[in-house]
Amino acid sequence: MNENSDLLTVNNLVKHFDISGGLLDQLKFEKKRLIRKRTVVQAVNDVSISIKQGETLGVVGESGCGKSTLARTVLGLYPPTKGSIYYGTDRIDDLNSRQMLPFRKKMQMIFQDPYASLNPRMTVTQTLEEPILFHNKNISSIEVKEISSEIMRQVGVDPKWADRYPHEFSGGQRQRISIARALTVDPEFIVADEPVSALDVSIQAQILNLMLEAQQQRGLTYMFITHDLSVVQHISTRVAVLYLGTLCEIGDSNKIFSSPRHPYTKALFSAIPKLGKKKKQYIKLKGEVPTPIDLPSGCVFQERCLYTEERCRVEIPKLIQRNSGTQVACHMVEEGKQ
């Protein structure tokens, strides 16, 4: 695969969760008639993204915007409701678990909370060796040991601690171990879901450095999910901004951060606290994020946007390529009013 080809392509992905419960929970009286009503959380709506080999795509957005759902659907942990996902040229969203196996080895995930993502009853060795043994059936135990201790060295965990349990490590050390676990099967693509959110600032820097280092050494491709915009700005080559399960804006990290176009991106970036800036002006949004159960008509952001016009209430905006290379889904930007 050459430098510029897409490693992962997501086309018009939709993920809905039916939370209406059993039949009896769905029945409701309305206008004196018994009707059956389903409640559906529309977590991800019509999202198309592609990730190039070797890049880091940062996915940002506030809580409940569908970042994590998107990540998990991409990895096949949730089946998509609609849309397709391609890994290289292979379609992976309709594979069964057996057919999925070779791809699982190439795609790994790092989770937010290293206290929850490591099995407390498995030693570090067991945690690291399990994926190696699972994906390489004919490997000798000596080789397994070699791989796991090599990886421990790489992530900065002394291999002599291999027989310890997760509770004996600090938060930062645990996150190193869970990164090591993702690296054991030599993946190409890693989805990191808020990997540094649970860590202190000084530890956060250590983990970010480790991830950048691993990327350079192994040519990894990252999908980096976080709500922390300064972290995204630091680590990403491209950024996708999600709002209420919909993609608002996607493009090169420095372009988006230097000149955000979508009204939501502008408001979001203006609210980032910056070191040593007093009394900054930030864009105040009206109201609050609506629930993903009743999405607003037209543009998902129209109820809170400062520039809403009639068209925004009716028509869902499409992602449109701008001259700068970023794609923006906003009628007002399209019409040049914004």
């Binding site: 600032v201 000084s202 950048l212 700005q233 630091h234 420095n254 979001l268 800036k277 007093k278």
Partner: protein, 322 residues
């Protein structure tokens, strides 16, 4: 000039079966009315313990083992529990991190607010309700009459934190201690809450102690900062001075390790290792095992706070010894 709050050489000890643990040691700072102080540090630095000890909320086996807390001329740490109760929640209010944990999920907002008012003031329910409405308006809750009859789960996270602030304001306190008030909230909501807190300090004539791990938030809101590490204040002074010209190697490392636009994609400056736990506090300067400038004296002698300028900038580091 008398200060709103003076904390002098405060020490909090936890008496455990295995021996005494000193959670905070020799913590001193002053706060004036309308002034905002940021207590910054990583988890386990003793920020929250400092906050709790001001209003004597340290629970057993912890106790204040030394120093004084003087609030509006009264020494707080020698008051009886009954006297303390008239100060706590009345003249000093506290706001916590998670508004869902602070609010009672089975009571309406109205009953929680009325309960707070009536615990401190001798007023009728009607009057208490009127006061509650007034405070909800002050924190910019839209249609407060409607909100009063709702339960906490019907409000969003930002709304809940505003309600918690309104409850803290009910007794017109002169000091608010906010312990990570926006850590659980999104950035757009955080900006609103921080704005509100600074505005209230001005209009209500309050002092604010903002406890947080987020240096950027502190630098935007506060006038003064105290940086804590392993139970001690290692640097304090005017916010601008500390952010632009930090003197302690830990503060310098902390500021450098923040990801920012300037060094995109480059390796971040990192502080090696992690903060010591209270059971294994190193000898001498607590930061010396992680410090890049460590001198032979650093593991021998505890550095005192050296005065750096006349605006109250102090740092505890042997490097600063003249």
């Amino acid at each position: 000039m008398s200060h709103l709050l003076e904390v002098e050489n405060l020490k909090v000890t936890f008496a455990l079966r295995t021996g005494d643990l000193t959670a905070i040691d020799d913590v001193s700072f002053v706060l004036n009315s309308k002034e905002k102080l940021g207590l910054v540090g990583e988890s386990g630095a003793g920020k929250s313990v400092t906050g709790f000890s001001i209003i004597n909320l340290i629970s057993k086996p912890g106790y204040i083992s030394g120093g004084r807390v003087i609030f509006e001329g009264r020494q707080l740490n020698t008051l009886s529990e009954k006297e303390m109760r008239s100060v706590r929640g009345n003249q000093i209010s506290m706001i916590f991190q998670d508004p869902m944990m602070t609010l009672n999920p089975v009571l309406t907002i109205k009953s929680q607010m009325i309960e707070t008012v009536r615990a401190h003031k001798n007023v009728t329910k009607k009057e208490a309700e009127k006061l509650a409405l007034e405070k909800l308006e002050k924190v910019y809750i839209p249609s407060p009459e409607k909100r009063l009859n709702q339960y906490p789960h019907e409000c969003s996270g930002g709304m809940r934190q505003r309600i918690v602030i309104a409850i803290a304001l009910l007794t017109d306190p002169s000091l608010i201690i906010a312990d990570e008030p926006t850590t659980a909230l999104d950035v757009t909501i955080q900006a609103g809450i921080m704005d509100l807190l600074s505005e209230l300090c001005e209009t209500e004539n309050m002092g604010l102690i903002l406890i947080t791990h987020d240096l950027a938030v502190v630098s935007e809101v506060t006038e003064k900062i105290a940086v804590m590490y392993a139970g001690k204040i290692i640097e304090s002074g005017q916010t601008d001075t500390i952010i632009s010209n930090p003197k302690h190697p830990y503060t310098q490392g902390l500021i450098k390790s923040l990801p920012s636009a300037i060094q995109t994609g480059k390796t971040l400056t990192q502080i090696p290792g992690s903060m010591p736990t209270l059971t294994e506090i190193p000898n001498g300067c607590t930061f010396h095992p992680r410090c890049e400038y460590c001198l032979p004296i650093c593991d021998q002698e505890v550095p005192e706070l050296y005065r750096i300028n006349n605006n109250g900038h102090m740092a505890a580091c042997h490097l600063l010894k003249k």
